[in-house]
C-alpha cells in the first residue's frame, strides 16, 4: 500500500476485506466489476461520491423517505465523527519533512487560496447581479462556495507518474487552508446575531485549543494501551470526543480534528501511525454515512441548480489558475497540468457543505449543499474528460 493510500480521504483497503479469504474469481464473471473496484468505488470511473450521494438522494425525503428526518437525526453523531476523522487525516498529512515538503505545502496552500479567491470573487459578483434569494449574506455564500471548491483529491490511486504523485501530495495538503477558514465560517454562520471578526477568531482559537486538549489526552493513551483492542477503543473514543465536543459547542470538528492530527504528527512517538492504521477500520463506514446523509439532505431547487452550473466552471478556472501558481512555487510541472490533476474534487467539499448545513439549517444552506453536491458529481465527470497529457490522471 502506498503512502498516499495510507492517509487519503478514503484510506486504503477495508480492514475486514484483508481478513477474509479472497473471493472466488473464476465463477460469476458478471460480478467482476464489483470485485475489481478501487477503494469505495468502481475503478476506474466511479468515485465514492458518485456512488453513494445518488443512493442517499434516492433514499432521502425528496424521494423514497427511507432516510427520513428522524433517521437523519440519528445519523448526525456519525457525521460529526466522520468530519473529525477527515480532519484528523488532513492533520496527519501535514507530516512535513525538510524543505521540499515545506515548499509543497506552500504550493498547495497557494493553489487552494487562489481557487478560493477566484470562485468566491466570481460568485460574489454573480450573486449581486443575479440577486438569487438565499436569505444569507452574499459574501458568506461566496466564501462557502469558494471553500467547498478549493479542496481536491487528485483522482484515483492508480496514477504512477511523478506529476500524479506530486499532485496527490498537493491534494492532501490543500485541504488545510479550507479547513481553517471553514472553522471561522462555522462560527460566523452558527451565531444567532452577526459577530465581529475578532470574536470569530477568538472562537477559532477555542476550536484549536479543544483539538489540542483532546489530542493530548489521546497521545497519552494510545501508546499506553494494554492491547490492540483497548487502543481501538481509545482511538474511537478520542475521535468521537473531538467530533462531539466541537459540534456541541457549534465549532468545526474538521478543524479540531486537524489540530489533533497535527499534534500527533509533531509529538514524539508512534501516535500518528497507530491512529492512521486504526482509523482505517472505521473510515469507510463513516464516509459512506456522510455521503448518504449529504445525498439525502439535498433539495433540488431552482436556486441550487443556478449555483451548481457556475460552481463547476469557476472551480475549473480556479484549479487551473491555482495549479499554475503552485507550479511557479514548485517549478516542476507544466502550466495547467497540475490543475488538471486536481480537478477531481473528492469528498471534503461535500463534508464542509454538509457541516455548514448542520450549523445553519436554512433553505439557503440547503441550496448551497445541493449545489456543491451537484458540482462535485459534475466535476468528477469533467475530470474523466479533461485528462492530463501524461495519462495518469483519474
Amino acid at each position: 500500500m502506498s503512502r498516499r493510500e495510507d492517509w487519503g480521504e478514503v484510506g486504503g483497503a477495508d480492514a475486514l476485506d484483508a481478513a477474509i479469504p479472497p473471493p472466488a474469481t473464476n465463477t460469476l464473471r458478471w460480478l467482476q466489476p464489483l470485485r475489481t473496484r478501487a477503494v469505495l468505488g468502481l475503478t476506474p470511473v466511479v468515485a465514492p461520491a458518485v456512488l453513494f450521494v445518488p443512493i442517499g438522494a434516492a433514499l432521502g425525503p425528496a424521494f423514497t423517505n427511507v432516510l427520513n428526518p428522524t433517521a437523519l437525526g440519528y445519523l448526525e453523531p456519525m457525521v460529526a465523527v466522520a468530519l473529525a476523522v477527515l480532519g484528523v487525516f488532513a492533520g496527519l498529512a501535514l507530516d512535513l519533512r525538510g524543505q521540499r515538503d515545506g515548499r509543497l505545502f506552500a504550493a498547495a496552500s497557494l493553489e487552494a487560496l487562489a481557487t478560493l479567491i477566484i470562485v468566491g470573487g466570481a460568485f460574489l459578483v454573480l450573486l449581486i447581479s443575479w440577486r438569487i434569494p438565499l436569505a444569507l449574506p452574499y459574501g458568506l455564500v461566496a466564501v462557502m462556495l469558494g471553500l467547498c471548491a478549493s479542496v481536491s483529491s487528485a483522482g484515483g490511486a492508480e496514477g504512477t507518474s511523478p506529476t500524479h504523485a506530486m499532485a496527490a501530495r498537493i491534494a492532501d495538503l490543500d485541504d488545510v487552508l479550507p479547513i481553517v477558514v471553514s472553522g471561522l465560517v462555522v462560527v460566523m454562520l452558527g451565531s444567532a446575531t452577526p459577530i465581529p471578526v475578532w470574536q470569530a477568531v477568538a472562537w477559532l482559537f477555542r476550536t484549536i485549543l479543544l483539538g489540542i486538549a483532546v489530542g493530548t489526552a489521546g497521545w497519552l493513551l494510545f501508546e499506553r494501551a494494554h492491547s490492540r483492542a483497548e487502543r481501538n477503543v481509545f482511538i474511537a473514543g478520542i475521535v468521537a470526543l473531538i467530533g462531539g465536543t466541537s459540534s456541541f459547542l457549534g465549532l468545526s470538528p474538521l478543524l479540531a480534528g486537524l489540530m489533533a492530527g497535527l499534534l500527533w504528527v509533531w509529538l514524539p512517538g508512534q501516535a500518528d501511525r497507530v491512529v492512521r492504521s486504526d482509523l482505517q477500520r472505521v473510515q469507510h463506514p463513516l464516509i459512506v454515512v456522510l455521503l448518504l446523509v449529504a445525498g439525502a439532505s439535498c433539495e433540488f431547487s431552482r436556486q441550487a441548480m443556478w449555483l451548481a452550473g457556475p460552481l463547476v466552471l469557476f472551480r475549473l478556472t480556479g484549479k487551473l489558475a491555482g495549479g499554475w501558481l503552485a507550479m511557479r512555487v514548485q517549478g516542476m510541472v507544466t502550466a495547467g497540468e497540475l490543475g488538471l490533476h486536481l480537478m477531481t474534487p473528492g469528498l471534503l467539499g461535500i463534508a464542509v457543505a454538509l457541516h455548514l448545513l448542520h450549523v445553519a439549517r436554512t433553505p439557503g444552506m440547503t441550496a448551497v449543499l445541493t449545489a456543491v453536491v451537484v458540482a462535485t458529481l459534475a466535476s468528477e465527470a469533467l475530470a474523466l474528460v479533461l485528462r492530463p497529457s501524461d495519462g495518469s490522471g483519474a
Binding site: 479469504p21 464489483l34 448526525e76 483492542a229 473514543g237 462531539g244 459547542l249 469507510h284
Partner: protein, 444 residues
C-alpha cells in the same frame, strides 16, 4: 499518564457541557460527545475493576450508572436515550457474532442434551415461581387485592418475566472475555432456547391475564403473532445471512460497510416489521457460519477482535439507563425475588443437567451464566405496563430494580465461571491448540 489523560477528558467534557446552552444538549452532537466520553472513561473504569479482580464489564456498567442521568448526570437523559438507539445496532452485532459461533457440525453431538437441559430448567423455574408468586401475592407490591383466576394468571405472567434471561449480556460477556469452550457453548444454547421459549410463554400468559381480567384484546391472533415473531425473525435473519454469505464468497469487498448495513437492516428494518432483532441477527450469523464456514470463521475472528468498542458502549449505555431510584423504592422485594430466582436457577440447572445426562464442570457452572437480565426482561415489563398501566406500572418498578441487581451481579458471576472453566482468552488460541487443551468439557 492514563489518569492524567482521564483528567483532561473529564475536565474537557465538563467544561464543554457547562458552556453549551441547554437547548443544544442531546441531539446528534450530544450523542457523539457521550459516545466518546463513554468509550474512554468506561474503558479506563473497566481496567480499574480488573485490578480488583472484577470483570471489566462491571466497570463499564459502573461508569454508566455513576455518570448516567440517575446519578452523576454527566450524561443527560437525552444522551442516555440516544446511546440506547445506537445499542440497537450493537445488539444486532453482538447476536450476529454469537450466531457465527454456532456451528451445527460441532454442536450436533450435544444439541439434544442441551435442549433437554434448557427445557427442564425453564419448566421447573416457571412452575416454581408461578406457585411462589401466587402464594405470596397479597404481600407483593403489584396488585394485592386481586383474587382467584386473575391472581393465578397474573402470577404466571410475573413468573414468565422473572424467569427471563439476557442473551445479549451473556453473549457480550463471552465476547469480551474472549472465551470459547463447552461452558460458553452451553450457556449460549440455553439463553437462545430460553429466549424462544419465553416469547411463547409470555404470549400465552398475557392472553391468560387478558381473559381473566376481561380485556377486549384476548384471543386476537396469538398463533400468527407468535409464528411471525419467532419463525419470521429467523427467516428474515436467515435470508439476510444467506445474502451476506454469498456476498462474502463472491464479492468480498468493503465488508465492514456491508456488515454494518446488515446490522442496521436487522435491527431497524427487522424491528419495524415486528421481528425480534436478536433472533434475526442470531439467525443471520448462524446461516453465514454454516453456509460459508471459511468466510464465517475468518469474519468471526476479525469482528471479535474489533468488537470491544461496541461492547464498552453497550454496557455503559445499559448502566446509564439503570433506574437506581426504582431500587430504592421496592428494593427489599427485588432483593428477595432476585435471591429466590438465583437459587432456582442453581437448582433447576443441576436437575436439568442430570436429566439430560450432562456431566462435567461446564453444566455445574452453567447457572452462573444465566443470572443476568437486561433488555428482554425490560421489554416484557414495558409491554405489560403499556397494556395494564395501573398494576403494570408497579410491576415495572419491581422488574427494573431486579434488572439493576441482576445486571450488576450476572456479569461478575459469569466471568468468574468462565475463568473457573479455563475458557477465558481461548478465542485467541489457534483452533488446533484449543482442541488439544485438556478440559473436562460436556460429557453426554
Amino acid at each position: 499518564m492514563r489518569l492524567l489523560a482521564l483528567a483532561i477528558i473529564v475536565a474537557t467534557t465538563a467544561v464543554v457541557t457547562a458552556t453549551a446552552d441547554a437547548a443544544s444538549r442531546g441531539g446528534g452532537p450530544g450523542t457523539a460527545l457521550a459516545i466518546g466520553f463513554a468509550l474512554i472513561a468506561a474503558s479506563l473504569t473497566g481496567e480499574l475493576f480488573e485490578r480488583f479482580r472484577l470483570p471489566r464489564i462491571s466497570g463499564y456498567l459502573f461508569f454508566g450508572v455513576v455518570c448516567g442521568p440517575y446519578a452523576g448526570a454527566i450524561l443527560t437523559p437525552g444522551m442516555a436515550r440516544e446511546l440506547q438507539v445506537i445499542n440497537g445496532v450493537a445488539i444486532a452485532l453482538i447476536a450476529f457474532i454469537a450466531g457465527l459461533e454456532i456451528n451445527f457440525s460441532r454442536l450436533r453431538p450435544q444439541l439434544r442434551a442441551m435442549l433437554t437441559m434448557g427445557g427442564v430448567m425453564l419448566a421447573l423455574m416457571w412452575i416454581t415461581l408461578s406457585v411462589a408468586f401466587f402464594l405470596a401475592w397479597p404481600w407483593l407490591p403489584i396488585a394485592p387485592e386481586v383474587e382467584g383466576l386473575s391472581r393465578a394468571t397474573m402470577a404466571a405472567l410475573v413468573a414468565t418475566v422473572t424467569v427471563s434471561f439476557s442473551p445479549t449480556v451473556s453473549i457480550a460477556v463471552i465476547t469480551e472475555s474472549r472465551a470459547r469452550g463447552p461452558l460458553s457453548e452451553l450457556v449460549l444454547a440455553l439463553v437462545v432456547l430460553a429466549d424462544l421459549m419465553l416469547i411463547l410463554l409470555f404470549t400465552l400468559s398475557m392472553e391468560g391475564v387478558r381473559f381473566a381480567l376481561g380485556s377486549g384484546q384476548a384471543g386476537h391472533g396469538i398463533l400468527s403473532g407468535l409464528a411471525w415473531e419467532i419463525f419470521g425473525s429467523f427467516a428474515f435473519g436467515g435470508i439476510v445471512g444467506a445474502c451476506f454469505a454469498l456476498y462474502l464468497r463472491y464479492i468480498g469487498r468493503e465488508v465492514t460497510v456491508v456488515l454494518l448495513g446488515v446490522a442496521v437492516m436487522l435491527s431497524q428494518v427487522g424491528g419495524a416489521l415486528h421481528f425480534e432483532p436478536l433472533l434475526a441477527a442470531l439467525g443471520a450469523g448462524l446461516v453465514v457460519e454454516n453456509i460459508a464456514p471459511p468466510e464465517g470463521d475468518a469474519l468471526r475472528l476479525a469482528v471479535e477482535r474489533g468488537a470491544l468498542p461496541v461492547l464498552v458502549l453497550f454496557f455503559a449505555a445499559a448502566g446509564a439507563n439503570l433506574h437506581i431510584g426504582a431500587l430504592a423504592q421496592v428494593g427489599l422485594f427485588a432483593v428477595a425475588i432476585a435471591a429466590l430466582r438465583m437459587a432456582l436457577i442453581h437448582a433447576s440447572a443441576k436437575a436439568g443437567a442430570r436429566i439430560a445426562g450432562l456431566a462435567g464442570e461446564p453444566p455445574s457452572l452453567a447457572w452462573m451464566g444465566l443470572v443476568s437480565q437486561a433488555g428482554v426482561t425490560l421489554g416484557l415489563a414495558i409491554l405489560i405496563s403499556a397494556e395494564f398501566p395501573d398494576w403494570g406500572g408497579r410491576l415495572y418498578a419491581l422488574i427494573v430494580s431486579m434488572i439493576a441487581l441482576h445486571e450488576t451481579i450476572g456479569p461478575i458471576l459469569f466471568r468468574n465461571a468462565l475463568a473457573r472453566a479455563g475458557e477465558v482468552g481461548r478465542m485467541d488460541l489457534p483452533e488446533n491448540v484449543e482442541r488439544r487443551t485438556p478440559n473436562a468439557g460436556v460429557r453426554v
